[in-house]
Amino acid sequence: MGALIVYLAYMGLQLFVVDHVSPLTFLFSSNFAPDEKHPGALVFIIGSVTITLFAICVGGPLGVAVGIFLSLLAPKRLAGAMKPAIEILVGIPSVVYGWLGLTLLVPLVREHAGSQTGFGLLTAGIVLSIMILPTVVSLSEDALRAVPVALQEGSMSLGATRWQTIWNVLLPAARGGLTVAVILGIARAIGEALAVQMVIGNSAVLPKGLLAPTAALTTEIVTDMGSAQEGTVLFHSLFSMALLLLLIAMALIFAVRLALRRSA
């Protein structure tokens, strides 16, 4: 782990140290022109953040809802059938999700949402929403199962309906674990590369709306790494993006720790 951080930090900082590119340019300029020593990565940062937010806004509540269902409402048989289904959803390779997005969703978005190409933020967001579902489902199920049955009984015995019990007692009591579920969903979404790369359109321009094609940090790495010459500004800036992703991942782990400590 240490080697990984040191190495990526070393490579990721080359852009600023060797090529003398200002970190501000990298973070806040939307003009990605590495050949002119102006590798502004804002487009990719905005792309990553937007699709991640989209995924967590759609996949988060849906995942928690299924977690509630599995931990509290599901008849044993149905729960027994859903467990393997969710494991399979976890197991489906991200390229297959990407392929599904490409063959199914892209034409759908093109014809019904009024997008010209079908590639773009919306398509990528939907694919990611589905991909983070299993993570959010199983973690929120665990979080709710950890709430003592006594609390549920206490609420029901006062004449609360099942939903009132869930909303007023169980969800607040499981807050810590649910936060972790959402954070790890975010981690999964922001780090996903290929499924997004196959449907986001891969053009380094600021998107004008959810339907416009753009790019994200991960997808830009995938798209340009193969052709990047070692030692060039492009090569270095791709490593800076990897470093940024690594830092985000670590920040999310810290957030998980914080959430767990506060709920304990």
């Binding site: 003592p148 206490g154 029901m156 015995s157």
Partner: protein, 268 residues
């Protein structure tokens, strides 16, 4: 070995008989294939304390959970028979179990306050049933906490977490929480078993007060406790309701040999 002479005497001045608030007829409860309650019938008199005694595992808790349809929460439990409140069958088709639990409250073996403030715990049931307004809720909270003999201990820290309270205080908070929604019957499942003797005696005093306004059914594993606080007693053994009657009669002239054996300590 406990002899009959060492048993504390039941309350002096036996109260006059009252009409039954609840009736249980031919109740059977099954956990899957296992039958936990076998054909039990019982009358629960109004404004009196009815104690259920018996060795552990005899079905007392299973029985009281059938009184407010708590078994509905567990799909593997099946309940048969008739349980009435004011002559209305709570298991009749079309009856809303949520409405049943509104009228028949429950206090559990281990205190189970919600991880919220003391105030939010007390008014939880009120809010659930639609009460609003801070001042209005405050009045009701104070009344319930006084009723549960907890007001003086917590009045300065109503916004603190309920989990900061001692076990005995938590249990009285749970009683206040039930009292606040003004049920007609309060069912208690060994409410003092997790508490120390001082906290236990406070709970027992409280039960004596509660019966002025409520009908109380209490499960206890302590015969002394049943003798101290109850007006009526029912004895369970291995899922059978063996004998019921006035507490004084059950303790001093049991009609069934098995009851006598238990009272005199022959079952351990």
């Amino acid at each position: 070995m406990i002899t009959m002479m060492s048993m504390p005497a039941p309350p002096d001045g036996v109260l006059p008989e009252t009409a039954p608030k609840m009736r249980v007829e031919n109740l059977n409860v099954y956990y899957g294939k296992l039958q936990a309650i076998k054909n039990a019938s019982l009358r629960v008199p109004k404004n009196r304390v009815t104690a259920l005694i018996g060795p552990s595992g005899c079905g007392k808790s299973t029985f009281v959970r059938a009184l407010n349809r708590m078994h509905d929460l567990n799909p593997s439990v099946r309940v048969e028979g008739v349980v009435t409140l004011d002559d209305e069958d709570i298991y009749a088709p079309g009856v809303d179990p949520v409405a049943v639990r509104h009228r028949i409250g429950m206090v559990f073996q281990r205190p189970n306050p919600f991880p919220k403030s003391i105030f939010d715990n007390v008014v939880y049931g009120l809010r659930i049933h639609g009460a609003r307004g801070r001042r209005h809720l405050m009045e009701l909270a104070e009344r319930s906490l006084r009723h549960a003999a907890l007001w003086d201990e917590v009045k300065d820290r109503l916004n603190h977490s309920a989990l900061e309270l001692s076990g005995g205080q938590q249990q009285r908070l749970c009683i206040a929480r039930v009292v606040a929604v003004e049920p007609e019957v309060i069912v208690m499942d060994e409410p003092a078993s997790a508490l120390d003797p001082i906290a236990t005696s406070k709970i027992e005093d409280l039960i004596g007060e509660l019966k002025k306004d409520y009908t109380v059914v209490i499960v206890t594993h302590s015969m002394q406790q049943a003798a101290r606080i109850s007006d009526y007693t029912a004895f369970f053994l291995m899922g059978d309701l063996i004998e019921t009657g006035k507490t004084r009669d059950i303790f001093f002239k049991p009609t069934d040999k098995r009851t006598e054996d238990y009272i005199t300590g022959r079952y351990g």
